[in-house]
Structures are given as structure tokens and as C-alpha cells.
């Protein structure tokens, strides 16, 4: 029968989403629930000297206060949900609970907090200057897990006047070959410094949490991307065994990496609820979301590239100063370096990097972490090299980008299926690269056309997770799903792998998800585009396990060998005589009668404890398929690619960039759900264009306070900002290292969209890359007017 993989199926949760019945974390209500409000720091760095909550606690309706003193202390640079030493404006100091939110807010007003202000720093380079301030009293960098104060010399900083990032002592590095020698021998060398601004994630649903305790068990409604992994994260965070935590997260209003397994603020409600003995709803506001809702680390990067005359990149020297924010901000710089090597395969490469703590909001993975930064930095520079060498820009990329079997990074990492070349070919054809390039720099009134492209790889799959399915006496297939429902449809779409293994129609399949009390198997976290790969595998494993058991039962009941039987439409039948058959309902009854491994009395040893716990809930309820993904993987990692092509018009009078046409071609293996893939690729590309063109991040340099803290000042793309024409395609070459052949696709479109428009804008500006993103209209106008901006070329948090 026809497979479900590769077809358009309406996700079964859509009905709830369009009728208002879909409940997100803040939509739940519990009897006796009280409401928490935060008191957040008004300054970027301070020490709490004294808290006087007596007036607040005396107010009618106020039920309690939670401060950092109520919580376990974490070693530096750990981030607790409340602090006595706020390290960024907006960091929560304490929470107050009351019978309603307004009373809680009024109580917060009545609290006196005495703060001793401490030195602060916003710009990583300022912190690295001799005598520069440190964001933490303990230092500004992390070396071997210890905080340290790192300062460069005045001589190091002498390059700043030329607009070049100083190359001081790094804290992380790797190298391949001899970069300096390769640069000296190169026919063409580039040496440029580029600033990539930090940007807030701004998922539309703020990260609210409702928590309550019953019989020693913690129940949490959390806005988060993962479900099974949120449970283990919450258990670890609260110091509880996994069995004592129930996570209910049926829907998530976007996370984009900021809610993979939640974020520190979600611990306010559980701790507070424990202290008060009442359910606590902690509703987070947009203003708060700006501050503690996570952000992508910005880069101040120095890039040196060497090329041979024929366009081959022979050397790449990256020096990245990462704005690490106030807490552990992720390793974007390292990912960026690996991706750079993967994209252009230079035989000689070096990364030197220093992630520096600053008194700005905490950083975290943001869709394509490190990816869109490096793609938007490198692609316009590769364009520049192509122009200097008199080569077509597509051709330079075809010359350098990897082919299947290539390796990358300092350890020669192998990837399972690399088809960026095919994606470039397909995308160029769909876009009409040759014809479009002919329009490049054409002027019409005040508008100039620019054409650009970008290649963007990212991780696309993990392995080794569990699948759990049950065929019940109602004849239906129940697929238990641990992944979160974060909007990508992967929690629904990966179920198809189990259906296809059993020939099971979609309308006889029930998906159970979103509540760990319902028995969910061990799953990957929903980050790094892992899920489609990981859970088509896990569900294929569970489906095949069920298939073998069904064949066994058919052979035992109807005679012959298990292999004589096939299945489709909820029936198992003899291949030679389709009339010799059992329904799945009969099979389920038989499985229960047989017991043992057939109905979950006996489960495999190698499945995770969470899966064993889930399986135990369904013992004797039907035929159980349960297995770990033991398919292995030939290569070290799985990566997908998106290649983006953009045609823009830059208005030289307004500085506005109008993206007229956009095409994205992807290499993501077998396509599971075409319509949803298109949505991921185009939606991700639009987000990337937002990063590259419009989402501002501005701080008051004197007081360290956020200025662009709302959606209208840090505005993501709206419906009028998107290209009129957008097309997508997929190469569709199955990944041989995974049984279903599918890879993830969430991350790569970010860099493709962002990189292609930055490349196109530079083209429109006569081949001039402004070496800073976002490319806001004022930046473009200042360039066109030849006006110096009021800030230096390397300064951050200014636009």
C-alpha cells in the first residue's frame, strides 16, 4: 500500500488550534491557583543589599515571596531563576504571589530593594581592553570551567582604528594545515571585520509556567519545545527523581531554541508552589520575554580568506569575539567555525575565539545557532572574492562546497549524505540564476536591483532514541510520542514511520503526546533539527518490532511462517492468499492472551528507563511494539543543507530593502511531509531575513538598559515584508545511513534566507558589503550618503 511518508496530511492537532481549544501553558487553570509577579533589576549589574517586603506581605491577598535565598546556589556562571547579584537589566530578583495578578504587582511595588550598583560592560571588546570592566565580579571569560579576567594589550587594540577586530589572546582555538603560509601563497586575500548583532528570540508565546504539587509529585504546564526531555530537565533542576515530575506541554507557541528544555525562569513556579503549598501561575510578559527570553550571541569577527586564481579557497582564518551575554551563552563560535569549514573545505583553516561575558541578557541557541551568523558573514565576502577573481558567484561555490563523502572540522568529521551541490543546481535552475544575475545592479528610479545567494548547512539528526506503539483490541494503532509539539509538525509527522512499517492507515492511528503522565518514550530534545531523523528511526524501530510480532501471531494462528504474511489496512494476511487474514483487533486480543513480549510483559533491556515506565502503563492492553533505534549510522553526524537565492531592490532614497524573489532548495533526504517542509524552509528563510535586515537590538550605552525591547522596535518580519515570490524545492536524495532516509530541516533555512539577502544587498550597493547586520535602512542610507555613523565600525548593541 502507498506509504504515508512523502504525502501531505493535515496534522491532527490543527482542529484544536483553529477552534481555540488548543491549550498552551497559560491557558490552564487549577483550583486555588495564585499568581506570581517578578521584581526585576532596573540596572545591568548590582548586588542586592537589603530586601524589605514587610509592607507587601501585609497587603490583603498577598500570599508570599520567593527570593534567591530560597533557592540552591549555583556555581559561576550558573544561572538561577532569581538572583542576589543581577547581571543584566531585567534579571529577576524576587517573585511575589497573590490571589490575583494585580495584587501581586501592587505588592511588588511595595517592596523595597536596596541595590549596590556594580561596574558593568555591554561590549565584549570593552571588557577585553586593558582595565576594562568585567561582567561578573569573578571575571569575563570561562577557561577550563573557571571564571577568569582576560585583558588584551593596548597594542592588540591598535587595529581598531582601521576598523579591524583586534587579535588578542583567545580562549578557544583549533587549526588545520598552515593558515599563515597558505594566506601568503594565495593569489587573492581578504581581511575583513564584520559585526553580527545579538537578537532576541521573541517567540510569540511568552514562557509562562503553571506548577503545582500533588502527593509529592510536581505537575508543570510549561511553554517548551520538548516534552520527554523537559521532564528530565525539570527533574534535574528541581533535584527530583524523574518519576516525581509530570510535564504537560501539549502546545508550544514557538521557541526557536529558547525553550528546548525550558529556561531558568520556568523554575519560579515550581519552587514557589512548593514553598506556598498552592498552585502557582507565573505569566511572563513580552517586556520580560525581551530580557530573559534568551537571545542569539552576536559576533565581532575578523575573517581572512585566501583564494587561488581558479576560485578555490585555500585558507580561512577566523577570529571570533562572541558576545556571550551574562550567563553560559552557548558555543555558537565553535559551531560557526565547523560550518565554515564544511561549506568551503579550505585545506588550511584556523579558528581563534573568545566568548566574553557581558551585562546583557543571557544567550542561548537560536534556530541555526552559529549558522546564520557565519553564513551572513562569509557569503558576502565570498562574493567579493568571486568579483575580484572575475568569476561567477555560483561557480565559486560549486568549486568549493563539499561533495558526498567530504569531511569537515578539526577532527575530520564525516557526514552521512551531502548533497549541497545538487541543491545549488536545483535552486539555481528554479531561481533562474543566469538570467537574474544579468539584472544585477540595474537602476529603476531610486531602486537598485541586487542578486545574491547563500549555502547553509546544519545538523539534522541524532540517533538512539526509543519508539513505543500499541495495537489495541479496537484495531487502532496508538503511537506514544515523546517529542514536543513546537510547531514543526514533527511530533505528528514522524509517526508515519510506524504506520508505514505496519501498512496502517492514518485514520486508524492515534497519536498520544504532550503529557508525560500518558506514558511517553525516551526522545531526543527538540533542538538542532534532530527530531525528524531521530524519530522516524525510533518509530520505524517500534513499528518493525510490532510488525514482526504481528507476523508471528498470524503464523501461530493461521499457519505457515511469519515471513509468509504481509499487512495493510489494519489486517495481516498471507501474501499468497489475502483471504487468509486476521484483523489487527484480533491480533491485539491474541497478543494479550499470549502475554510475554507480545503485550509488553517483557520489554527489551536496552530501552531507556522512561520508555520502560511508559511501556509498563500499557502491559496487557494490546500488541506492543517497543524498541530502541539500534540502526546505527555509518557517519559521525547528519547534516542538511538549504541553498537560498534572493533578488532584492534597495531603495536609495529610503534605504529600504525589498526582497522581491526568493528560492530555497534543500538537501534534507527523503521528504516526509512536503507542505510542512515548504513551510519550514520558507518560514525559516523569512526568520533569517528578519535577522539579517530588521530585528534591532539597541542598548543605552551609558546605563546599560535595553531600548529595542518590544516587537515594534525589534520587529520580526511581517506579512508585508516577505518576498512576493517564494519557491522551494528539495533534492530528495535518501540518506542511506538512516532507514527511512529522512533528515531534519529546521535550522539550515535561517542562514540561507539571511545570507542570500545580505549577499543581494551588497550586490545592489555596487558590491559593497556594509560588514554589519541587521542591514537597517538607516545603515544603508548612511552608507549611500557617505555619512559616518555616530558609532565605530566594531561597536555593538547600537542598531
Amino acid at each position: 500500500m502507498a506509504k504515508l511518508i512523502g504525502t501531505d496530511i493535515v496534522p491532527p492537532d490543527l482542529m484544536a488550534k483553529i477552534t481555540g481549544r488548543a491549550r498552551y501553558a497559560e491557558d490552564f487553570r487549577v483550583d486555588g491557583m495564585v499568581y506570581a509577579k517578578l521584581l526585576v533589576s532596573p540596572v545591568p549589574h548590582a548586588r542586592v543589599k537589603r530586601i524589605d517586603a514587610s509592607r507587601a506581605l501585609a497587603m490583603p491577598g498577598v500570599v508570599g515571596i520567593l527570593t534567591a535565598d530560597d533557592l540552591p546556589e549555583l556555581p559561576a556562571p550558573g544561572e538561577q531563576c532569581l538572583t542576589n547579584e543581577p547581571r543584566y537589566e531585567g534579571e529577576p530578583i524576587l517573585a511575589v504571589a497573590a490571589v490575583d495578578e494585580r495584587t501581586a504587582a501592587e505588592a511588588v511595588e511595595a517592596i523595597e530593594v536596596e541595590l549596590e550598583e556594580l561596574p558593568f560592560v555591554l561590549d565584549p571588546l570593552e571588557s577585553l581592553k586593558p582595565g576594562g570592566p568585567d561582567a561578573w565580579t569573578e571575571g569575563n571569560v570561562l577557561v577550563e570551567r573557571k571564571m577568569k579576567s582576560l585583558k588584551w594589550t593596548g597594542v592588540d587594540f591598535s587595529t581598531v582604528e582601521q576598523g579591524q577586530v583586534p587579535v588578542g589572546e583567545p580562549t578557544a582555538q583549533w587549526s588545520l594545515g598552515d593558515v599563515d603560509a597558505a594566506l601568503a601563497a594565495a593569489d587573492y586575500v581578504l581581511d575583513e571585520s564584520v559585526v553580527h548583532q545579538t537578537q532576541t528570540h521573541h517567540p510569540l508565546e511568552p514562557r509562562s509556567t503553571l506548577a503545582y504539587w500533588r502527593n509529592g509529585k510536581l505537575f508543570c504546564h510549561v511553554s517548551n519545545q520538548s516534552t520527554a526531555r523537559m521532564r528530565t530537565a525539570m527533574a534535574a533542576g528541581m533535584g527530583l527523581p524523574m518519576e516525581s515530575v509530570v510535564v504537560i506541554a501539549e502546545y508550544c507557541g514557538g521557541g526557536f531554541g529558547s525553550k528546548i528544555t525550558g529556561s531558568p525562569i520556568m523554575y519560579v513556579a515550581p519552587h514557589f508552589s512548593k514553598k506556598l503549598g498552592r498552585p502557582v501561575m507565573h505569566r511572563v510578559t513580552r517586556y520580560e520575554e525581551t530580557h530573559f527570553g534568551r537571545s542569539r550571541p552576536g559576533f565581532q569577527a575578523r575573517v581572512r580568506m585566501g583564494f587561488r586564481k581558479d576560485g578555490r579557497m585555500t585558507a580561512l582564518d577566523l577570529f571570533i569575539v562572541e558576545d556571550h551575554g551574562s550567563y553560559s551563552g552557548g558555543g555558537d563560535y565553535n559551531t560557526a567555525s565547523n560550518l565554515a569549514h564544511f561549506m568551503y573545505q579550505p585545506e588550511n583553516m584556523r579558528l581563534r575565539a573568545v566568548p566574553v561575558f557581558t551585562n546583557t541578557p543571557p544567550r542561548a541557541a537560536q534556530r541555526g545557532p552559529g549558522g546564520i551568523q557565519i553564513v551572513t558573514i562569509l557569503e558576502p565576502l565570498v562574493d567579493k572574492a568571486a568579483w575580484a577573481l572575475g568569476m561567477d558567484r555560483l561557480e565559486v561555490r560549486q568549486k568549493n562546497a563539499p561533495r558526498d563523502g567530504a569531511t569537515f572540522g578539526p577532527r575530520g568529521t564525516t557526514a552521512s549524505s551531502i548533497h549541497v551541490q545538487e541543491a545549488m543546481e536545483q535552486g539555481a535552475e528554479l531561481f533562474g540564476w543566469k538570467e537574474k544575475v544579468a539584472l544585477s545592479r540595474r537602476k529603476e528610479g531610486s531602486r537598485v536591483t541586487g542578486v545574491g545567494m547563500a549555502i547553509s548547512p546544519y545538523t539534522a539528526g541524532s540517533i538512539g532514541y526509543d519508539g513505543l506503539v500499541i495495537v489495541r483490541p479496537d484495531g487502532k494503532l496508538y503511537v506514544q510520542q515523546g517529542p514536543g509539539n513546537l510547531g514543526t509538525h514533527s511530533v505528528m509527522d514522524t509517526v508515519r514511520a510506524a504506520c508505514d512499517a505496519l501498512g496502517m492507515p492514518w485514520d486508524q492511528t492515534e497519536i498520544v503526546w504532550g503529557d508525560t503522565a500518558k506514558g511517553l518514550p525516551w526522545s531526543c530534545p527538540q533542538g538542532g533539527s534532530q527530531t525528524t531523523h531521530a524519530h522516524t528511526r525510533a518509530n520505524h524501530a517500534a513499528g518493525m518490532d510490532a510488525r514482526r510480532k504481528i507476523q508471528d501471531i498470524a503464523a501461530q494462528t493461521l499457519g505457515g511462517n511469519p515471513d509468509d504474511y504481509d499487512m495493510a489496512g489494519g489486517r495481516v494476511f498471507a501474501k499468497s492468499n489475502p483471504g487468509q487474514a486476521m484483523t489487527f483487533a484480533q491480533v491485539a486480543e491474541k497478543a494479550i492472551a499470549l502475554g510475554g513480549r507480545y503485550d509488553g510483559h517483557v520489554v527489551p533491556e536496552d530501552i531507556h528507563a522512561m520508555t520502560k515506565e511508559a511501556a509498563a502503563m500499557f502491559v496487557g492492553q494490546g500488541l506492543m511494539g517497543v524498541a530502541r533505534d539500534n540502526f546505527g549510522r555509518e557517519a559521525n553526524v547528519t547534516y542538511s543543507w538549504t541553498v537560498g537565492f534572493a533578488l532584492v531592490e534597495v531603495d536609495t532614497e529610503t534605504g529600504e530593502v525589498d526582497v522581491k524573489e526568493y528560492v530555497a532548495a534543500s538537501d534534507c533526504g527523503v521528504v516526509v511531509h512536503p507542505r510542512s517542509l515548504g513551510a519550514q524552509v520558507l518560514g525559516g528563510s523569512i526568520q533569517g531575513m528578519g535577522v539579517a535586515l530588521r530585528q534591532r537590538w539597541v542598548y543605552d550605552q551609558r546605563f546599560g538598559e535595553a531600548l529595542a525591547k518590544r516587537l515594534y522596535t525589534a520587529r520580526p518580519p511581517g506579512i508585508l515584508d516577505i518576498p512576493k515570490e517564494m519557491k522551494w524545492s528539495a533534492v530528495g536524495i535518501p540518506d542511506p545511513a538512516t532507514p527511512v532516509g529522512a533528515k531534519g530541516i529546521g535550522e539550515p533555512p535561517m542562514g540561507a534566507g539571511g545570507g542570500a539577502v545580505v549577499s543581494a544587498v551588497a550586490d545592489a550597493l555596487g558590491g559593497t558589503f556594509l560588514k554589519r547586520t541587521p542591514l537597517t535602512p538607516d545603515l544603508i542610507l548612511a552608507h549611500l550618503a557617505g555619512v559616518r555613523k555616530p558609532w565605530g565600525p566594531l561597536e555593538v548593541h547600537v542598531g
Binding site: 490571589v99 511595588e109 561596574p119 518590544r710
Partner: protein, 211 residues
């Protein structure tokens, strides 16, 4: 900034701020508070002289009696007093459109409408679109199903209400016109292509229904 400059700056700041030091944190939070609601006694609140008034609202064709504060927004009332949590609050400042509802058939950001101002008017939320007797979906809802609209769908109720206004007031519209009609709503997933597909399909279905 060098060290000396930084120190000077800090000194200036401290002197500027010392006089409000004791309450500085509290003041900042006051402006930070976005929509705040006062629960009704049913939700366990203690009785205070809050100035609540009992109003009758027409919501989704039903008369609903509810205690409302003078400064209470419609989004608060719907979500926390009438149990209509389908209306989402993404920003509470008329920036994102997640809270869009119809008031007398016209789309409004319910985060920015005071409840007492809609007393004599008819309010429609996402929960009011499906026919409660037949279960029949509104053409816009059907269009979203047909086109598999939305990703995380936190914006969906707002977009759907804006689309309802569009199809019910505009017999024919182009994709461009649909984009303008929906430009008061944000989709952070960037799923605008599918949203426009939904709007165009909704237009077709609405025309077919009108015959």
C-alpha cells in the same frame, strides 16, 4: 570606555540615582507590568474595594454577566473571567495581533480595548466561529484545515479572526489585498505563504457559501 571613564560614569549614575535608591527596583517593575487582571471572587480572590461593576456582555451570541474593573481589558475578561482562552496574548501592546477579536464584526486588538466599552456590542472570539449545533466550521477555519495553515499556531486565533473580517466584508480580494488586511498580525514562525493560501481559499469557500 576606559576604566577612568567607566568610574566617572558610575559616579554620575549613582549620584543621579541615589535619592531613589531604596525603591529604584520597585519603580522599574511598575512600568514593566503588562496586562494585569483582578480575578473574580469565583477564582478565590479576597474581597477588596476594587471598583468592579457587574456588566452584561454579548460574547459569541451569549449574554455573559461578569464583574469588570474600569481599567480591565477585553483580553483579560475573556481569558480570565469567561474562560475563553482561545484568544491569546502575545504582547499586550497592540503589536502582535494574537488577541484579535471581532467587535460588531470589526477586528480589534482585545488587549487594547477596555471591556466596559463593549457593553452594548457583539463580541466574537475564535471559540464562536464553529456552529455549536452542527459543528460546521466557519469557511475560514475550513480553509485553514484545507491548507494546513500555521506552525506553532499561537498567532492562529488572531489571524483567523482578521481573516473572518476580511472574507465577510470583502467579496473578492487579491493576495496583495489579503496581505494588507492581515498586516496587523505577526506570525513569528514566518508561515505567511500558507497564511495567504488560507486567506485565498477562505475567500473561495465564503463565495461558494454565499452562492
Amino acid at each position: 570606555m576606559d576604566e577612568v571613564e567607566t568610574r566617572k560614569l558610575l559616579e554620575r549614575r549613582l549620584s543621579r540615582r541615589t535619592f531613589i535608591k531604596g525603591v529604584v527596583a520597585a519603580g522599574a517593575t511598575a512600568t514593566a507590568s503588562a496586562y494585569l487582571f483582578r480575578a473574580s471572587p469565583l477564582l478565590g480572590a479576597v474581597a477588596q474595594s476594587t471598583g468592579e461593576r457587574l456588566l452584561t456582555l454579548n460574547v459569541n451570541g451569549q449574554q455573559r454577566r461578569v464583574d469588570v474593573l474600569p481599567n480591565e481589558t477585553l483580553a483579560q475578561t475573556l481569558r480570565y473571567k469567561l474562560g475563553l482562552t482561545g484568544t491569546k496574548v502575545g504582547c499586550d501592546r497592540a503589536e502582535c495581533g494574537s488577541c484579535t477579536v471581532l467587535i460588531d464584526g470589526v477586528s480589534h486588538y482585545s488587549c487594547s480595548v477596555l471591556t466596559h466599552t463593549v457593553r452594548a456590542r457583539s463580541v466574537t472570539t475564535i471559540e464562536g466561529l464553529q456552529n455549536p449545533d452542527t459543528g460546521q466550521l466557519h469557511p475560514v477555519q475550513q480553509a485553514v484545515l484545507d491548507e494546513s495553515g500555521f506552525q506553532c499556531a499561537y498567532c492562529a486565533p488572531g489571524f483567523i479572526m482578521a481573516m473572518v473580517e476580511l472574507v465577510e466584508t470583502t467579496p473578492r480580494f487579491t493576495r496583495d489585498e489579503a496581505a494588507h488586511a492581515l498586516s496587523g498580525n505577526l506570525c513569528r514562525c514566518g508561515d505567511y505563504q500558507k497564511i495567504l493560501n488560507c486567506a485565498m481559499r477562505a475567500g473561495e469557500l465564503a463565495r461558494a457559501a454565499r452562492g
